[in-house]
Symmetry: C2
Subunit: 334 residues, 2 copies
């Protein structure tokens, strides 16, 4: 029997499908356009100019992150238009805590087989996240990898590049004991702890209202933090992701400092209590895995608290004074 | 019966393992250090200064790519120290074709469960690739995602940031009909076509010498192309990846140009013939999926060919005159 001639499509890789996908996303991608971009998407790489007006020594800033297993919940619910916002949020929130303005974003979307509608929703979500963060979607990679991923599964990672004046980098050195710690409200669990969530609840429990609440996209704090940064109001900031407040707050502190958190300063949202109850998780572990209602922490001089809270309130961002910087060895006590 | 208290580790995510991994890689990461880096790895994001001495308008350049299913071959052979070079190569080769110098790199390593030795080898390979490309490994993400990936499987993607003077961007506009097309030898299949390869051969056939040959890391052409660029010798360049010569050459051409390739100009390496025979793949499809021995194409004025070949030869890079630019509509004829 004669063997059939193989093509790459037989082997599970459809280059035409990837091209077609990009065509359908033209408008969404174009909507993220920024004045510092040079040329459009489609070359071998994306070009842009770092706007550095008024900066003495512009520094570039880059970071990468993924949505984690939140993508599995998206698949369970068949709702793929929010995880793109999450992946942008995970990167740009990490970036803005050092004082940098996100300029450009690239996504990495890997799947067992490109389903046009799923891929479209995911990447349109990335574009929406980029608009919220004020950065340009300058490129990305759509990788079709049969055998590594199941046909209907995908992973989503991202990469952001930004700029900050060297004189204004938030590197912890400005923090002093006595500084106040403000907590900015999260929109829910954001993009961390989904492995635990999927263990605490059955698939049936996750389908429906609870799943949709958990899928709510991660808050993007870029505009708020850049506004505080422009006004020189922050001494540090920390994006509260995996590791929670105790894992992430120390990353923005100088040596010799700890943080004392007042757990009564804010109300822990019901969704966390629900997870804790169903999963029989200790308080300590909950605070180590989840943001517990605080998606971003801002450190400032005590005298700036009211002005900061006023700015945030105008931008419709709830905030709480959740603690203060004390002498110590990088610990977070509750 | 009382339920056992859940921890994040029970749910399959071991944050301590990720931290331990990074400790063991300190030296490899430090070996990629470049003078433009600011601070070390470990903050929320990586900082660096774009060296722009002598540039009138420095532009930033960013791109992302992955190794594709070459990671599955690495797993089959239990050899994980080369795919890191591949992921750097895929990104920096894409970047250098627009004339940009890679400055910083970030990796995204996602797995079902962190195995210290595998993760160590993969990321040490990334560091080796960064050294070859002369760029700094400034950050990365190690994502542990039980359920999305099998415990022993992983995906590997990367992101590169570079800089180029606006006046020296290779955007195709410098290309004219009559320009010569030089082909730079590849080291083998590089990082494309592995879905087809895994279909053409059995797992047993891939274990051993053939598998090792296929696993050979992708050639990094950064130093060679930057040397040609410094001397103003190229009018364009194209990284030959998925899509092959016909898919990638047109991406570096201006409107109104095609390329005529002389297939007798170089000898197609035996490994491609072996794949073609075993997989019953047509000539056309082979050229659409594989680099067929040419990993990078450089376009130049005919008068520069000898000087370029001299420079490449000194750098131990084999090259061939494989074709010329002709009038046309972005086609590649053989």
């Amino acid at each position: 029997m004669a063997k059939k001639s193989s093509t790459y499509k037989d082997a599970g890789v459809d280059i035409a499908a990837a091209d077609k996908l990009l065509e359908g996303l033209d408008r969404a991608i174009a909507s993220t356009k920024q004045p510092w971009q040079v040329g459009g998407i489609g070359g071998f790489s994306g070009l842009f100019k770092a706007p550095s007006r008024g900066m003495k020594t512009p520094l570039l800033c880059a970071c990468t992150d993924s949505v984690g297993t939140k993508v599995l919940l998206a698949k369970l619910l068949g709702k793929h238009d929010t995880v793109g916002i999450d992946v942008v949020a995970m990167c740009v929130n990490d970036m803005v805590v050092c004082g940098a303005k996100p300029l450009a974003f690239l996504d990495y979307f890997a799947t067992g087989g490109i389903r046009q509608s799923v891929a479209h929703d995911v990447i349109a979500g990335v574009a929406r996240g980029c608009r919220q963060a004020g950065c340009a979607l300058i490129g990305g990679e759509t990788a079709e990898m049969p055998d590594l991923y199941a046909p209907s599964e995908y992973d989503l990672a991202g990469f952001a590049v930004g700029v900050v004046d060297a004189a204004r980098v938030l590197d912890g050195k400005q923090v002093r004991t006595g500084d106040a710690v403000l907590g900015l409200a999260s929109t829910g669990v954001h993009s961390n702890g989904f492995s635990l969530i999927r263990k605490a609840f059955s698939k049936r429990e996750l389908k429906g209202a609870l799943g949709l609440r958990l899928l709510k996209p991660t808050r993007i704090y870029v505009r708020e933090l850049l506004e505080l940064q422009r006004n020189g109001l922050m001494t540090a900031a920390a994006h509260i992701t995996g590791g929670g407040l105790p894992g992430n707050l120390p990353r923005c502190l100088p040596k010799g400092c700890s943080v004392r958190i007042d757990r009564r300063a804010w109300r822990i949202p019901a969704v966390f209590k629900h997870i804790q109850r169903k999963g029989s998780v200790t308080d300590e572990e909950m605070f180590r895995v989840f943001n517990m209602g605080i998606g971003m922490a801002v450190v400032c001089r005590p005298g700036k608290v009211e002005r900061i809270r006023g700015i945030l309130s105008k931008m419709k961002q709830r905030s709480y004074v959740i603690g203060e910087v004390v002498k110590g060895d990088g610990e977070v006590t509750m």
